[in-house]
Amino acid sequence: MNYMELLGALAPEAIVVLTALVALAVDLLVLRQAPQNARQVVAVSITAVGILAAIIALSVAAPSPPWMDGLLINHSTTAFLKQTLLVLALVAGILSIQSRFTQHTGEYVTLLLLSTVGMMLLVSSDNLLLMFVALELTSLPLYVLTAFNKESPSSSEASLKYFLIGSLSAACLLFGISLLYGLSGGITWTQLATTLRAGSEPIVYLALILTLIGFAFKVAAAPFHLWAPDVYQGAPTPVAAFIASGSKIASFYMFARIFMAALPGTAGSAAWSGATPGWVPLVAALAVVSMILGNVAAIAQRSVKRLLAYSAIGHAGYALLAILSNTEQGMGSLLYYVVTYAVTAMGAFAVVNVIERDVQAPNGESLTDFAGLSRRSPLLSLCLLVFVLSLAGIPPLAGFFGKFYIFIATAQSGTSQGLIWLVMLAIGTSAISLYYYLQILKQVYVVESVGQPTPVQLRPAESACIVAMACTVLILGCAPNWLINRFSPNSTEVRRAGVITKPSTTLELAAEIHPRITAPLGTATGLVQKRPQFETTTANAQ
């Protein structure tokens, strides 16, 4: 173990931490007296430089072997996810320029970046300990950021709720992973996977449930979603956007990895006839409740941010389908889904941010503030159209293919299409969701604005971000293969990454316990057969 090598492997995260500290120092030491706008521009510029450096560091870094029993893993998928997270953090930073919710620019940027570091660590950990630390590093700055609008009571209230519920969930998670450790005697995925079996002891199920609650809170899956509408509405919009996008990617990735890779022996089945206990039926329950509750409750909302919160709950339900499919294909579709969803949600929040600034209503924006937007700003309306239709899953936008891949993966995963009922339900709730998405577009394109339509003030950087995100959504929808192939089980990169994260052991065990997992993983199992030496060395190491 060489610490310099560790630093090399952690270079992107180190750069981001350094950027956070530099931004804080510059703001507090140099620009204390400068006008607010200048401070924001400088802070965001420093952020941009740091983030670009981190992105470059990620793209040139070679995949490294796992450090310290999976404490830190790096491969192309984690690198891509980290880059996406960094870009989203940068957009959130750009969106907060010129906003008036805080005077503490340095602290704001620092917290944003620290939260990003937490997310980056979260996606590159195969270890329960680092996972928990990273999760807390992600969450704590977000609690503070939610409260950053000191003038708004709802901001503090939301933050407190977020913190309280988050604490309870973290407690559950901690309890859950301590049980897992106690049951298995290990903290890495490999150790967990080799030890834990379904049906051994009831305490395993308690551990599963507690762990699940921790993640269900993070991804805002019902019934652990209750914080989400209040936080999305109360938090400053750029923060809400970051919570809805970056935090979702990292949490979903870890969610899927811990259950798929570390707990394959306790999966169970959610088939319509013949469900067996395990985490899959639990996730299925959460997915069903999320899809129904999120999509139905969104209909009654009058605030677009709350509407997006409920829409996020519904989308979490769809993403949970990918997790419970419990296959590599499901993993690929999940990543495609959360990445495109993050970009789309970030774009939608960016538009909301503009409108919110434009109306300056004391209680935040409402649906009627979007009336006649198409005459006030055709560009913004067009981008919003792209985002909303993508959320609704209209081809050829990215949201359509996200749902499509998830439904395919889910439908193919169960024995004899046992999970098809979940897909049917998902399609039905998608149809319901169209209603409230079109409500937004109706306001934008059909309803006349009150009084003379005045042009919406747009900053160049902001509009460039929005247009870029709209184009991304369109391009990812038109060429979905580009993204999905990065996560596909056939991709050489993932295969290589799979070798590094020692999937052979996992897969072998999985095949032992659940023959159905191996069916879609022909290539991966082929890989196992091709590398007998590798397997022996692993066995020896254990």
Partner: protein, 679 residues
């Protein structure tokens, strides 16, 4: 190759451009639009002369006609390239100069004639379009390009004849002209397609590969169609249908007299220089094709025999009708039909040069006559009935003199006037036609009639007592100057083609030209006959109308008094229109009524039945929709909204209850798992 060949396309393009520009102008810019028209045509005239000059030079490398072509690819489909092009040869060059020259004079004349019309700008737009289309026909080296220009001419003539569209008769005449010529054009199009099918090209001349060149003609010569008729003959006859429609040959002549409803310069343009000449020009252009006939035994191909006969019959028939007309422009119109018959006769019996010579001379003197008639009409306050005129020679001396020259040229008064020489050539060709002598006699009879009706018209208009209520006046200078120029031309152009010095003949056919006074002597007999014929016609008319000049406009014509039945037939244009009315149009009407009845009762009934069934089905569906699906759906939606409100109520903002939900969920999940396990 002279460089002008590459720029030949400019000649039609300039008037077309002018037409486009005028179309974009406002109606009140009349002088600007007139200047644009006249200017563009003047440049075209200059270019035409520039194109004419190289064709005059000595023929390089021995015999044959000088001909330069410029072909270009238009578009490709599959392996086939459709090519268009233009050609410069004596035929094109001579016609270009004639059309641009006469056209220019007509344009200038129109400035005066249309001075009081509020739509003068539109008029000049149409005139320019007309000229452009006609010039396009002349330079085409592709039957397709020619056909396109041909149709444009048809369109422009439709627009011009119907220029005073508020007059129902003008609108009807425009329609009639368009539809009648379309009937001929149908044949033209079929011929064009057939020709393309057989030869694979529509270019006339293409370095030996064109459809009028030897290889294609040889191939066509070997082909026969059903009934032993040569394919070339069949194609030629189809093309002749188009020419007959445009050039008003019997039986498609009916539109031409009605076209007099247009403004007089239009009449002149249609009759003298452009539209009617187009048909004759087409026959002259495709003459090599017409001449091909595998069954050519009698010395003339079947197609050319048909042309000759149709021409001869038209010449006499139209001349007869002209005798019975009282409208100054209608007389000229039938005279034109008759003269076109002569041209066809000349083409069929004597070849390109003979027909074209008469076409060129006729263009000048008929333009002169029409413009003169226009001047008369203008001076008599839009009066067109010759019986209401009379004695105008004093009020309108210039018009009278120039009109007299035109009249003598048309009648064929010997030696001095162009019509004499060109008509004499036609009669000479007809007299030696190997197939039959009858066309020659018909031509002679037509010449008598021509002299007769023109003399009659002169007497009515310019001599005798004045019947006009109002004071007639001479036309403005802008109108009389073209008359004078045309009158001079009407005299001079005849000398291009005298038997002694057949310059035009040599020019068009590429033969050696030499002065041969003995040729005059050879044709002296014929010239004497022709002189006698003209004298007969003029003297009989003179005797008839000076002796018994009708005392009042209402009085009977002396001829009518003598032979009321015959004159009645002539006066009513031989009842051809009525005949068509009773046959073709009635048949058409019958067909349309039948179709209407079928459509209304049979098909409509079926459609109604189907639609009733559809409505019945639809009402069943509607009932289902309303009472089954809608209620269910509404129920669903209501439930959804209720649910939405319920879920929203769950979000009561109390963090304690949020935490309680989490606790309860934890318990619920445990219960679920344990229950599942127990099972």
């Amino acid at each position: 190759m002279p460089s002008i060949v590459n720029y030949l396309w400019l000649i039609p393009a300039l008037p077309l451009l002018a037409a486009g520009m005028i179309a974009l102008l406002k109606q009140r810019h009349r002088s600007l639009s007139a200047s644009l028209s006249i200017g563009s045509l003047a440049i075209s005239l200059g270019l035409s002369i520039a194109a004419f000059v190289p064709t005059l030079g000595p023929i390089e490398g021995g015999g044959g006609v000088k001909r330069w072509v410029h072909n270009l690819d238009w578009f490709e489909f599959g392996n086939t390239t459709l090519r268009l092009g233009w050609v410069l040869d004596p035929l094109t060059a001579a016609m270009l100069v004639m059309v641009t020259f006469v056209g220019l004079l007509i344009f200038i004349y129109s400035v005066g004639y249309m001075a009081h019309d509020e739509n003068a700008a539109r008029f000049f737009c149409f005139l320019s379009l007309f000229a452009a289309a006609m010039l396009g026909i002349l330079i085409s080296n592709s039957l397709l390009l020619l056909f396109m220009s041909w149709e444009l001419v048809g369109l422009a003539s439709y627009l011009l004849i119907g220029f005073w569209y508020h007059k129902p008769s003008a609108a009807a005449a425009a329609k009639k002209a368009f539809i009648t010529t379309r009937i001929g054009d149908m044949g033209f199009l079929l011929g064009l397609l057939w020709l393309y099918g057989e030869t694979g090209t529509l270019l006339f001349y293409d370095n030996g590969n064109g459809c009028l060149e030897q290889s294609a003609l040889n191939r066509l010569n070997t082909l026969t169609t059903a009934g032993g008729m040569g394919v070339a003959t069949a194609i030629s006859l189809l093309l002749f249908c188009g020419a007959a429609g445009k050039s008003g040959q019997v039986p498609l002549h009916v539109w031409l007299p009605d076209a007099m409803e247009g403004p007089t310069p239009v009449s002149a343009l249609i009759h003298a220089a452009t539209m009617v000449a187009a048909g004759v020009f087409l026959i002259a252009r495709v003459f090599p094709l017409m001449d091909v006939d595998p069954a050519n035994v009698a010395g003339s191909s079947t197609a050319l025999s048909v042309v000759t006969w149709v021409g001869a019959v038209t010449a006499v028939f139209a001349a007869l009708i002209a005798v019975g007309q009282n409208d100054i422009k209608r007389i000229l119109a039938y005279s034109t039909v008759s003269q076109l018959g002569y041209m066809m006769l000349g083409l069929g019996a004597g070849g390109v040069a003979v027909g074209m010579f008469h076409l060129l001379t006729h263009a000048f003197f008929k333009a002169l006559l029409f413009l003169g008639a226009g001047s008369v009409i203008h001076g008599c306050h839009e009066e067109q009935d010759i019986r209401r005129m009379g004695g105008l020679r004093r009020q309108m001396p210039t018009t009278f003199l120039t009109y007299a020259i035109g009249m003598m040229a048309l009648s064929g008064v010997p030696l001095l006037f162009s019509g004499f020489w060109s008509k004499d050539e036609i009669l000479h060709a007809a007299s030696v036609w190997p197939v039959s002598r009858l066309p020659f006699y018909l031509g002679l009879f037509g010449a008598v009639l021509t002299a007769f009706y023109m003399t009659r018209q002169m007497f009515f208009v310019f001599f005798g007592k004045q019947h006009l209520g109002k004071e007639a006046h001479e036309s403005p200078t802008v109108m009389t100057i073209p008359l004078v120029i045309l009158a001079i031309a009407a005299v001079l152009v005849g000398f291009w083609g005298t038997p002694a010095w057949p310059w035009l003949h040599a020019y068009l056919t590429g033969h050696e030209l030499h002065l041969d006074l003995s040729a005059l002597a050879k044709s002296a007999t014929l010239m004497l006959i022709s002189t006698a014929v003209v004298a007969l016609g003029m003297i009989s008319a003179w005797r008839l109308y000076t002796r018994k000049t009708p005392s009042s406009p209402q009085a009977l014509d002396p001829l009518e008094a003598a032979q009321p039945a015959v004159f009645g037939v002539l006066k009513n244009r031989a009842y051809i229109d009525e005949f068509y009315e009773a046959t073709v149009i009635r048949l058409n009407h019958l067909l349309s009524v039948t179709s209407d009845v079928l459509d209304r009762f049979l098909w409509n009934g079926l459609v109604q039945l189907v639609s009733l069934m559809a409505i019945a089905l639809a009402s069943v569906g509607k009932a289902l929709d309303q009472f089954v699906i809608n209620l269910g759906f509404d129920g669903w939606c209501g439930g959804l909204k209720q649910g939405a409100r319920g879920f929203a109520r769950l979000q009561n903002g109390q963090v304690q209850s949020y935490l309680r939900v989490i606790g309860l969920s934890l318990v619920a999940l445990v219960v679920v798992l344990l229950w599942e396990r127990r099972r």
